[in-house]
């Protein structure tokens, strides 16, 4: 047994986290910054933070992930990291020549009280930032929130720094993407094109973290939202934030700074959340929904009706981030699956409220928890107590899947042992079909491998 020490004896814990369903803020800040064109993320802390974040993102995307670090030593920890950051800014602009440096803090620099705004201001005053280049900064203490919080904080900082209101309104809407894959960013753009809505998508990691092999390495790939695009977000008609946790701060910032009204929607995962997204788009862009979108929706509903018998009543355990889990759980309920166990290390009261609403009627037995000690150990213990038919979550689920012999669909971050997430979206109606296809494949593979010989089915 891989997790041989896990038992069904659940003990109330107040201090120990085992097998977390979250990680820390700075990696989210790094990921968000990579979705801006010509931007080099910079980690203001020990080298290890930057190295770990780059490694984790690289394992997930199998793509170059560039970022620099302030390389703190004990001295900088005592005397403050100002000189490290000033030196970093000079060196980065001289050697790596980005358009933008996106600095995020770490638990180390936050604990000693480094004020990034003040240091970047000093860099500006001292003339260390070349003409036309930019340094943006976000406070991302690792001991608050989770990786999603870091993403949200950097997104807010990007908007705050670049978005400006001119006297000319632009007939476009802003889409603030939650933490999704490059494939999902691409899918969002495709949907918006079908809807014929001009838009700015921020961040946009497509063509950055799914770059083609050309034989030539590009430190700043062609993708990413550009500075003029982000600046123009202040003149947009409306903002749609996709994901309460990841995008609300940035949406509020745009409203405060440029008076662009906003709406926060769930990530368009599954039938109902995509319906809501399409309706919001239709309203925001004053466009009717095209036939092609209706057709895609129809295909999704068709797949559900065709295969409903295989979904019905299946018990599912899920772990990951609230912005993904909420629409995903709603989707599973809508196809009559039973999401019985759900954990997320990311805190936030809204999670419990939304889960209650989604689950209370059709899956009253469901257990869910987020925040402190809502970890994969707890979920595994629930499973030990009363098993499930399916697991959905990041790569770390494979240990439970093997021990308990449970079919497993990989979704979320990080996925380190399979590919596909960078290329095949799981949002919108088409992405939802992919989710269903993945669920059916693992459930049916198990059925095929374990059923009695006389019950072996050719047609399913």
């Amino acid at each position: 047994m891989l997790l041989r020490h896990t038992t069904d004896k659940i003990k109330e814990r107040k201090a120990l986290t085992v097998n977390p369903a979250k990680t820390c803020q700075p990696i989210g800040a790094m990921y968000a910054a990579l979705g801006v064109h010509g931007c080099l993320p910079h980690s203001h802390g020990s080298q290890g933070c930057c190295s770990y974040h780059r490694s984790a993102l690289t394992r997930h995307y199998k793509e170059p992930v560039m970022a620099a670090t302030s390389s703190f030593t004990e001295g900088s920890s005592v005397f403050g990291g100002q000189s490290n950051l000033l030196q970093s800014i000079t060196n980065i602009f001289t050697i790596y020549e980005p358009e933008i440096i996106a600095v995020h803090s770490t638990c180390l620099s936050e604990t000693i009280g480094d004020d990034l705004g003040q240091i970047v201001g000093k860099a500006q005053d001292d003339g260390l930032i070349p003409e036309g280049k930019h340094v943006i900064q976000a406070a991302t203490p690792s001991y608050v929130g989770s990786h999603v919080t870091g993403y949200a904080n950097m997104l807010e900082s990007i908007v705050k720094y670049f978005a400006r209101k001119s006297d000319k309104l632009k007939k476009q809407i802003n889409i603030l993407a939650g933490w999704v894959e490059p494939s999902d960013m691409r899918e969002l753009k495709r949907i918006l094109k079908l809807m014929k809505i001009k838009n700015v998508l921020l961040p946009d990691t497509s063509d950055v973290l799914d770059a083609p092999m050309t034989g030539k390495y590009e430190m700043y790939p062609k993708g990413g939202t550009t500075i003029p695009e982000i600046t123009s977000m202040g003149d947009s008609l409306f903002t749609i934030g996709l994901g309460e946790w990841a995008t609300r701060n940035a949406a509020i910032m745009l409203d405060n700074q440029c008076k662009v009204k906003f709406d926060i929607e769930d990530l368009p995962i599954g039938l109902q959340a995509t319906d809501r997204f399409i309706q919001t788009l239709s309203k925001a862009g004053s466009v009717s929904v095209p036939e092609s979108i209706n057709d895609e929706r129809g295909r999704l509903v068709d797949v559900i009706t065709d295969m409903h018998q295989y979904f019905y009543g299946k018990r599912v355990a899920l772990w990951g981030d609230p912005d993904q889990l909420i629409p995903l759980v709603e989707f599973l309920v809508s196809i009559d699956m039973k999401p019985v166990y759900i954990v997320s290390g990311t805190p936030g009261k809204e999670f419990g409220k939304r889960m209650e609403k989604i689950l209370e009627e059709r899956v009253p037995e469901a257990k869910y928890k987020n925040g402190a000690n809502a970890d994969m150990l707890l979920m595994h213990q629930w499973i030990k107590d009363n098993p499930v038919d399916l697991l959905i979550g990041n790569t770390y689920g494979k240990y439970i899947a093997r021990d308990e012999d449970i079919p497993f669909v990989r979704m979320g971050f990080p996925i380190m042992d399979r590919i596909g997430h960078s290329y095949f979206s799981t949002i919108g109606y088409m992405g939802s079909i992919r989710i269903l296809e993945k669920i059916l494949s693992v459930l049916m593979d198990k059925e095929d491998a374990t059923c009695l010989e006389e019950s072996f089915e050719l047609v399913m």
Binding site: P20, C24, T58, R59, P64, T73, Q87, N91, G215
Partner: protein, 543 residues
């Protein structure tokens, strides 16, 4: 096809590309980096700058002290709960990412697949995290009943002054199991290397010597600095087992803390990764009189040499005969594969920038299949790993090094092995080398470029210059180099392959290089229509 450098008359002098690299840097930086770039001359001894701070803003390969302590040294030991006291990230990123394989006997403990953290929050930063740490230790004990718990301090808890050592002592007394702490905050030292030293100190202080058990074999050894990436240690265990050599403990691949407790009863320590573990080797000799030798099991010839050297130490005819029998049998298998692979790999060029010993050891494997290493360097090594241990007395001790405790070791009068000390004295007279490591540079070709703590800019320029057939580094570099059209072999994780140690490991590596260097995909990168004239179509579909 890319035009390669001409190596028929030896390697060209890379001064020009070196100047180009340094020319991009601000003057002060150029001056500093210049000392870490050395054009090798195996005859004339050259000094390289190593184990110094990375310049802020430079995209380095290096990680932190915590990574070296918890990730590298303690990570592979299966029967200890490694509890990370800090925000969640530190423990999360070190969770199963180093491929330390372990074979657990029926009913044995294995906590490697788990990730333990105190997940400290802002309130802990303000009011202190010691109470939470104590609760976490108690909860871990009640739920998992481990034999030992290691506690790792991270940047913020070090800064707020949480004392992991005092808490460890208190909890040890309360719970009655071995509990010990490591001050391995990420900001200590200049790289992972500081963490290795801190881990060595902690294990030596709190674990080694806790169990004076009786002899269980005629020839008892420990293997130090072997972390069982991809099953390397399994292959070596197989060889020792067959030879009749008793491997008491490995530091720390496929190990138990229990085995480390009686490791001081060994007759000899074999040191693989000199950088990460030489401290324990030295301390064990000072305290218990166990001598150490530097060996490498990377490469078939190195493996044969290491086995012979081990047998030579024990000087037992039966053991020597057995070792020779194994070498003869295994080399036959190795040579059969080598002979089919080498014609396809001969003359190819490699570059490797990794770790604190692998960038040296893997040159041997490449040499066996005719691949020349044109440029190499370590991520976190010291001067002695480049130039040999002779230079140790001349290494300047800077503030960062002084930060790391140097344990004062006293001879254990009861347990000190006078017999081994006498044996060492005799063998030294016969020309047998102890406590010796010559480093990477004397073994590298003239004009090869040796670089410490290489960064992204330097690597990119060198790839342009050398156009190597294979580049060896880690996960962060993997796809950068491959995007430039050059295959990268990860030498931390082995790209999830291996084992590459020992004889079977050598065979695996030869075959891996046959695959990697022979794949056709790199020739298919360009579109077939790249060279054709552009067609202006009149049948294009317009919407």
């Amino acid at each position: 096809m890319v035009k390669k450098i001409d190596t028929t008359k030896g390697l060209p002098d890379p001064s020009e590309v070196m100047d180009e690299i340094l020319g991009k840097y601000p003057t002060k930086i150029a001056k500093k980096r210049k000392k870490s770039l050395v054009i090798n001359d195996p005859e004339g001894k050259k000094e390289i700058q190593a184990n110094v701070r990375t310049i802020p803003g430079i995209i380095t390969q290096r990680g932190c002290t915590y990574a070296g302590c918890k990730g590298v040294i303690l990570g592979p030991t299966r029967d200890v709960i490694n509890l990370v006291h800090g925000p969640i990230g530190c423990s999360f990123y070190a969770w199963l990412t180093r491929r330390n394989q372990t074979r657990v006997p029926e009913g044995g403990d294995n906590f490697i697949n788990y990730c333990f953290s105190t997940d400290i929050q802002d309130s802990n930063i303000v009011f202190g995290g010691e109470a939470k740490l104590k609760d976490a230790v108690r909860e871990a004990f009640e739920m998992f009943h481990p034999k030992a718990i290691g506690i790792f301090s991270t940047c913020p808890v070090g800064l707020i002054g949480d004392d992991v050592h005092a808490i460890s002592r208190e909890m040890k007394a309360e719970l009655g199991i071995n509990i010990f702490g490591f001050s391995c905050e990420g900001y200590r030292g200049v790289s992972q290397s500081a963490g290795h030293h801190i881990a060595n100190n902690g294990i030596f202080k709190h674990v080694v010597g806790n169990n004076n058990r009786d002899r269980i074999g005629k020839f008892q050894i420990n293997l130090l600095g072997e972390y069982n990436i991809g099953g390397d240690a399994f292959e070596l265990e197989r060889l020792f087992d067959e030879a009749g050599i008793t491997l008491l403990s490995t530091f720390s691949g496929n190990s138990t803390l229990k085995s480390m407790e009686y490791s001081h009863t060994a007759d000899l320590n074999l040191v693989m990764c000199h950088r990460s573990i030489n401290y324990i080797a030295e301390m064990m000799e000072e305290k218990y009189g166990v001598p150490w030798i530097k060996i490498s099991f990377i490469g078939a010839e190195g493996t044969a040499k290491a086995l012979r050297k081990t047998a030579g130490y024990f000087d037992d005819p039966e053991l020597t005969a057995k070792v020779e029998e194994i070498i003869e049998r295994e080399m036959k298998k190795v040579n059969a594969v080598k002979n089919t692979v080498k014609p396809k790999t001969e003359g190819k060029l490699a570059m490797m920038f990794v770790g604190g010993s692998r960038a040296h050891h893997y040159q041997d494997l490449f040499r066996e299949i005719g691949v020349t290493t044109v440029s190499a360097g370590y991520e976190f090594a010291h001067r002695d790993d480049y130039e040999g241990r002779d230079v140790i007395p001349s290494i300047k001790i800077d503030a960062d090094t002084r930060n790391i405790e140097n344990l004062t070791i006293e001879k254990d009068v009861e347990l000190y092995r006078d017999d081994l000390a006498a044996k060492k004295k005799q063998l030294l007279k016969d020309g047998y080398n102890f406590s010796d490591y010559e480093g990477m540079m004397p073994e590298m070709t003239k004009n090869s470029l040796v670089i410490d703590d290489i960064n992204h800019w330097e690597a990119e320029k060198l790839i342009e210059y050398y156009k190597p057939d294979v580049f060896c580094a880690g996960i962060k570099e993997k796809y950068i180099v491959q995007k430039a059209g050059i295959p990268l072999k990860q030498l931390h994780s082995y790209d999830y392959g291996g084992p590459y140690a020992g004889f079977e490991g050598a065979v695996n590596f030869y075959l891996e290089m046959e695959r990697m260097l022979g794949t056709q995909i790199w020739k298919m990168v360009d579109t077939p229509w790249k060279t054709e004239p552009e067609i202006v179509g009149s049948f294009a579909i317009n919407e």
